[in-house]
């Protein structure tokens, strides 16, 4: 295959760069130098002390290789992505035409499973976002991980992470999507548990992997079912093919037959459950806040560019299947759509309530991620396909920005803490275990003075998250979701649309409020601790690599929204969408053509027009954003928290506050209901079933035969005695000696198994005889 010159084959190379980087870093940098664990200059931070032991620390050349190779890999991916984007732009009509290439990967009888790559509009939008975001995360990591003793491992893993995400993006079938999906799961497991000595870190890692795996096995069933019905997993053959969609929508399911649903609905719900896990939706959202245990660039990777976006991206990919059999633009939802609408809207609100009561700077962002993913899921549920894709892209930019800015804050706080202790000559409490939490916002305050770049970029990201009107990207994407929901309410009186509209508007209000609270607690007022007073990123490479990505992403957090300004939006349409809404125009082409679907009554018209301009949703989204920000400003910025002062929310919410802060006690409930019983069960299976029943049965029978053998022996003894011959006695003595040599179980087991075989035989013979007699 001519990869470089054939535009169809070129996308194969997009994930190759980071994947190769992973391989090279892993193979080249496994020689470390050994230093005493007590050497805090080389080794320390998140790593514990080991008395008198030598620990491996990444060698200097390994640092250079890992950064250099990692960056080259990502840059290669970026360049090839752009080349692919150019190739895609040369297509006459993207959507109808695509870039695609595949190979026979797995023989299945006379056919083979084809594995390949595909560039269609859905791929295009991701190829714009993912490589840029990943590159920013890489640059940022250079500074953030500069002093970590396992820096090379970090870059290897994050390269693999990026490679898996890009694989998922360019995949042309659900199976390859699943491959990238799971590899990202493993990467996140290893990166969340990167500081693996910490109990909280490895527990969070296991929790993340296990929780998402619950969803993944269900998704795997969905994939298997889809594959068995269609004989393919290729997107074009299923999602762009009205005949297949119609077949799926009109076939009765293989399970749940009594429930009047189509096979498409069952498959759809199975596949959506996969996303509920991966994109951290209720009730499987519990892993994501804990995932903050990893280094901050990982949080940005998981929460913005890659993992959780992958969940929503897969829903976007599979959307035609979910909508088959319904017509969301006319208020008719299928079961999968309704499922998404309910789960998404509920999660959006639930997570927003929890975010309000968090004090950890990263936890607030984690809950806001869950909440924003809920927005996207709910949008897909009501058929707002374009709006969901739009929000996915804008969210990725501003959330990556927010996480990395929060990481800078933490880094600055650690720096400040270090500074304070250096001057106090107190080396004993250098480690975070000393009680000081650099992530707790109550320890911050006034950081706008010492970390101005971080402050301004965080502010831009925060405003975008809040949906600050007109100038931020978040406003445009959120507004589009609400506009779609309102259209359903207005034209068809759809209850689902109404529910989504109400819950999301409420969630958007709370989003603006908790974001302002976060900004105020972190950057506003005066420093509440000595560490906060001295918090900064220092000078040099660390400072540059950690602020440059923030500035670039801040640009996208504002600008990314203008590609999707509705073409009938007053005034602004003339500037940004003179002919058409560019984002809408492109993305809608990923869906099957209207002419093709019109022949099938089971299928909706996927190419529905964008909702016309309506003042109610626009006013609502402006109002909730401004109201939330204003309230936050009123409570937290105007009257900054003093050191040791209670959070005003605690007074306001009263007994509700601990409930929210403790995440509705869901972790404890899951622990009691699921974790403890399965641990109990697994202990029982060994001690009760295997040892207590199966082996015990064997042993009992063995003992029975020993007893019978002894009985025979006694009889023999009596007989032999009766004969009274010397030779038999000698033989007997020999036999007794022989018997001691052996454990005595040989015969017993043999007899036992014969007995068992005979017993089973009798059952089978009788039953087969009975069957044959009929």
């Amino acid at each position: 295959m001519d990869f470089l010159n054939d535009p169809n084959a070129l996308p194969w190379l997009i994930p190759a760069g980071p994947l190769l980087a992973f391989l090279i870093i892993t193979l080249l940098t496994n020689k470390s130098k050994l230093v005493p664990a007590s050497d805090h200059h080389e080794y320390g931070g998140h790593h514990p002390d080991y008395d008198g032991m030598l620990v491996p620390v990444v060698a200097r050349y390994s640092r250079v290789i890992s950064i250099g190779v990692g960056l080259c890999g990502v840059l290669a991916a970026l360049v090839i992505s752009w080349m692919t984007l150019y190739n895609a732009s040369q297509l006459h009509h993207i959507g109808q035409e695509v870039l695609a290439s595949s190979i026979a990967w797995m023989d299945t009888g006379e056919t083979a499973f084809m594995m390949g790559v595909l560039v269609d509009p859905a791929t295009v939008i991701m190829l714009v976002m993912v490589p840029i975001a990943v590159l920013m995360i890489f640059i940022y990591s250079i500074g953030y991980m500069a002093h970590d003793p396992r820096q090379a491992r970090f870059f290897a893993l994050i390269s693999l992470f990026a490679g898996a995400m890009l694989t998922l993006v360019v995949a042309d079938n659900v199976l390859l999507l699943f491959v990238g999906w799971e590899i990202m799961g493993v990467c996140s497991y290893m990166l969340i548990g990167f500081w693996f000595e910490k109990e909280s870190a490895y527990k969070a890692a296991i929790k993340a992997f296990t929780t998402t795996r619950i969803a993944d096995v269900v998704m795997l069933l969905g994939i298997a079912y889809l594959y068995s019905l269609t004989g393919t997993l290729n997107y074009r053959d299923i999602m762009y093919n009205p005949e297949t969609l119609d077949m799926l929508a009109t076939t009765a399911p293989i399970i749940f037959g009594g429930w009047t649903v189509s096979a498409a609905s069952i498959i759809g719900i199975f596949l959506i459950i996969g996303t509920v896990g991966k994109s951290a939706q209720f009730p499987l959202h519990v892993w994501l806040p804990d995932a903050m245990e990893g280094p901050t660039p990982v949080s940005a990777m998981i929460h913005a560019a890659a993992m959780v976006s992958a969940g929503i991206f897969s829903l976007i990919r599979l959307y035609p299947l979910f909508a088959a059999g319904g017509d969301p633009h006319h208020g008719v939802l299928t079961e999968p759509l309704a499922f998404m609408a309910v789960v998404g809207a509920f999660t959006a609100l639930l997570a927003a309530t929890m975010a309000v009561a968090q004090n950890d700077v990263k936890a607030v962002l984690a809950y806001s991620t869950i909440s924003q993913l809920g927005f996207m899921m709910a949008a897909l549920g009501i058929g707002a396909y374009i709006a969901a894709a739009f929000h996915l892209i804008t969210h990725a930019f501003f959330k990556a920005l927010l996480f990395m800015a929060a990481g800078s804050v933490i880094h600055g706080m650690e720096h400040g803490e270090h500074h304070v202790h250096e001057h106090a000559h107190d080396h004993s409490s250098l480690h975070p275990d000393g009680g000081f939490d650099p992530q707790d916002m109550r320890n911050m305050g006034g950081l706008r003075k010492t970390m101005p770049v971080t402050f301004w970029t965080f502010l831009i990201g925060g405003l975008s998250l809040s949906g600050f009107p007109i100038i931020t990207a978040g406003f445009w994407s959120k507004d589009e979701i609400l506009a779609d929901a309102w259209l359903g309410v207005q034209n068809y009186g759809s209850g689902a649309h109404g529910m989504v509209f109400t819950l999301l508007a409420l969630a958007a209000f709370m989003t603006a409020f908790y974001t302002m609270r976060q900004i105020a607690l972190t950057f506003g007022g005066e420093a509440r601790t000595e560490a906060a007073k001295h918090a900064n990123l220092g000078k040099g490479v660390v400072s540059i690599t950690m602020t440059l990505p923030l500035i670039i992403l801040a640009f996208f957090a504002i600008g990314a929204g203008f590609v999707g300004v509705p073409d009938d939006f007053p005034v602004l349409n003339a500037i940004f969408s003179p002919e058409y809404n560019a984002f809408h125009h492109l993305t809608v082409e990923a869906l099957p053509m209207s002419e093709a679907t019109a022949a099938f009554s089971s299928l909706p018209d996927y190419h529905a027009k964008a909702p016309p301009f309506n003042i109610i949703p626009v006013a609502t989204s402006i109002l909730v954003a401004l109201l939330g920000l204003w309230l936050g400003w009123l409570v937290y910025w105007r009257k900054p928290l003093k050191a040791g002062q209670r959070d005003p929310m605690e007074n306001f919410l009263g007994p509700l506050h601990p409930v929210l802060q403790n995440r509705y006690y869901l972790d404890e409930i899951y622990g009691r209901v699921f974790v403890a019983p399965s641990q109990w069960l697994s202990a029982q299976i060994i001690s009760f079933l295997d040892r207590g029943i199966i082996d015990a049965l064997l042993h009992i029978i063995a003992r029975l035969f020993t007893w019978l053998g002894d009985l025979v022996k006694v009889l023999n003894l009596w007989l032999i005695d009766g004969v009274g011959d010397g030779i038999p006695i000698a033989i007997f003595n020999f036999g007794g000696w022989l018997r001691r040599m052996q454990s005595g179980r040989v015969q017993q087991y043999m007899l036992l198994i014969l007995a068992a075989a005979v017993a089973i035989g009798i059952v089978l013979v009788l039953s087969s005889g009975a069957a044959l007699a009929q």
Binding site: T26, M53, T108, R153, V179, E197, L220, S682, I686, D690
Partner: protein, 544 residues
């Protein structure tokens, strides 16, 4: 197919390991140098491995298409004329894969036992003798020869466990290896007693032991014909049970599995590797090669009291094994027993694949359901054979790593480890890789075969497949538990001055396993077409 000095390759593959074993054993008294014995065993086993690779690619180069005769018979001569048994060796796509696996794993097992000092020559000779037994089973095209080699594998394995098994735990007088080896022997031997009877019954009534011939002739023995005054269907049922129990013990199918955790746990590293990597496959291979084609009608017999047929019962037992095996592995505190129970879990997928194969084959053969889903069955069968190969790789790797840990720390208790990744970064990385291969991570080998099995069994056993997913979920649970106990958490300072990193021999032994796990995960079609062609041919013939 290639031959060596005029002797056909399969005969060489069967006998060369035994001769090598003799040579290595003889060296013990001639030249006392253990190092020489090790190198001799390694070089000879590597030559045998090369030949098995050659045989594999020769079969591939034969370019058989779907519908062609899948068997390539290389040797067929008079052997035991009185009873009609002939010395027939041959392979099809399924056995070629198994021969490749056997050839590859034996030198790795020898490498893994590089540091065994106690009667080193004998230890290595037994490993080679085991290879002869397995090669013989996979190459045998005569039922009597098959049985002979099947039994032969027991002997070296018994002694390996009994003599080189684990040391007694502190405070316990006797090592568990005596109990384990006896249990293993009696379980296996008791199982094959019925098989011997069945073999004789079949051979005596059909007048031949040729496996391809019996596949044609034996199932058509119909009711009404009397054998020894007994109705044929009863004879068939008896013979079926003989095979069924023997192979179920070997796979192992729940509830015939309780020998396995003991045997695997107590065996020396190389013994566990071969036991899990190859020996369990003998059972699954027996089902595919013999029990399904010889007894298609019996698989459809309703089992009294339960109300399902034998094939479905087999699927149910397999799923029980998948789920309970995963739970049991999760509950272990001993690393080798954890890995051992993971075999029950993984081989359960082989079991459900066999059940689908049996059900569909039988429905087509008896005409009970001419419209049976052949396509799904072919996919399931592909997955089953590939899963056998994959489990061979990953379980051998897991046992090698567990053995490496045991050898250095002299403890198998998970609680005694902790945070070892700090001191052994390479071991940690390889353990992570192998564990994730075992877990079925997409991109690595196990996923491909498990996906094929899940897809293939979905249409036949929908609900059971869904339940098996619970096992797949808990596979994640025990793998993560093992990783956490060994690698994560604060370092256990008890091992401060112990070198925990893999030795050079262990690293060299892991390398080919890692390469194959990755290759099979990224591009399964390097091996799958051979399996697929054979399996598809079997089904196309039976359907027409």
């Amino acid at each position: 197919m290639v031959d060596i000095f005029g002797i056909d390759a399969l005969s060489v593959l069967v006998f060369a390991p035994a001769l090598s074993a003799l040579l290595v054993a003889a060296l013990a008294s001639l030249v006392p140098s253990k190092q020489l014995g090790r190198w001799t065993a390694l070089v000879l086993s590597l030559l045998i491995a090369l030949l098995s690779i050659q045989v594999f690619f020769d079969y591939q180069a034969a370019g058989l298409a779907i519908g062609d005769e899948p068997f390539i018979i290389t040797q067929d001569s008079v052997w035991f004329e009185a009873i009609g048994a002939r010395w027939t060796l041959g392979i099809d796509g399924i056995s070629a894969v198994m021969i490749l696996l056997t050839g590859l794993l034996t030198p790795l097992a020898i490498l893994a036992s590089w540091n065994i000092d106690d009667r080193a020559h004998m230890h290595l000779a037994l490993l080679l003798l085991f290879e002869t037994g397995s090669m013989g089973v996979f190459a045998a095209m005569d039922l009597m020869v098959f049985f002979l080699f099947y039994e032969l594998t027991l002997v070296p394995m018994y002694f390996l466990i009994n003599q080189w098994g684990s040391m007694p735990k502190s405070g316990v007088k006797y090592s568990g290896r005596f109990y384990a080896s006896t249990k293993f022997m009696i379980y296996s031997f008791g199982g094959t007693l019925g098989m011997l009877l069945a073999t004789q019954l079949i051979g005596w009534s059909a007048g031949s032991f040729s496996i391809p011939g019996l596949v044609e002739a034996w199932p058509t023995f119909r009711e009404g014909q009397a054998l020894l005054g007994i109705d044929v269907s009863a004879v068939k049922a008896l013979a079926f049970i003989g095979f069924f129990v023997a192979f179920s013990i070997k796979v192992p199918i729940w509830p015939f599995h309780t020998w396995l955790p003991d045997a695997h746990g107590e065996a020396p590293t190389a013994g566990s590797m071969l036991l899990a990597g190859i020996m369990l496959k003998l059972g699954a291979y027996g089902f595919i090669r013999l029990v399904i084609p010889l007894f298609p009608d019996v698989w459809l017999t309703e089992v009294a009291l339960i109300g399902v047929n034998v094939a479905t019962l087999f699927a149910i037992l397999s799923v029980v094994g998948i789920v309970l095996g995963a739970f049991a592995a999760f509950g272990q505190t001993d690393i080798k027993r954890l890995v051992a129970y993971s075999s029950v879990n993984h081989m359960g997928f082989v079991g459900i694949g066999i059940a689908v194969l049996a059900q569909t084959y039988a429905q087509l053969w008896t005409g009970a359901n001419p419209a049976a889903d052949v396509h799904s069955a072919i996919i399931a069968a592909n997955g089953t054979v590939l899963q056998m190969f994959n489990h061979g790789l990953s379980s051998a790797g897991m046992f090698l790593l567990a053995g490496a840990l045991y050898h250095k720390t002299h403890t198998r208790e998970l609680a005694d480890y902790g945070g070892l990744w700090v001191k052994a970064p390479v071991m940690g990385a390889i353990l992570l890789f192998t564990s994730f291969a075992s877990l079925g991570l997409p991109g690595l080998n196990g996923f491909v075969s498990e996906f094929l099995i899940v897809r293939g069994s979905w249409t036949t056993y929908t609900a059971l497949t869904a339940i098996a997913m619970l096992g797949l979920l808990f596979t994640g649970g025990y793998i993560l538990k093992g990783l956490r106990a060994v690698l994560h958490g604060p370092f256990n300072l008890r091992w401060r001055d112990t070198n925990l990193e893999l030795t050079r021999a262990e690293l060299v032994a892991m390398a080919p396993l890692i390469a194959l796990m990755l290759l099979t995960g990224l591009y399964p079609n390097w091996i799958l077409p051979m399996i697929n062609t054979t399996v598809s041919t079997i089904f196309i013939r039976i359907a027409s």
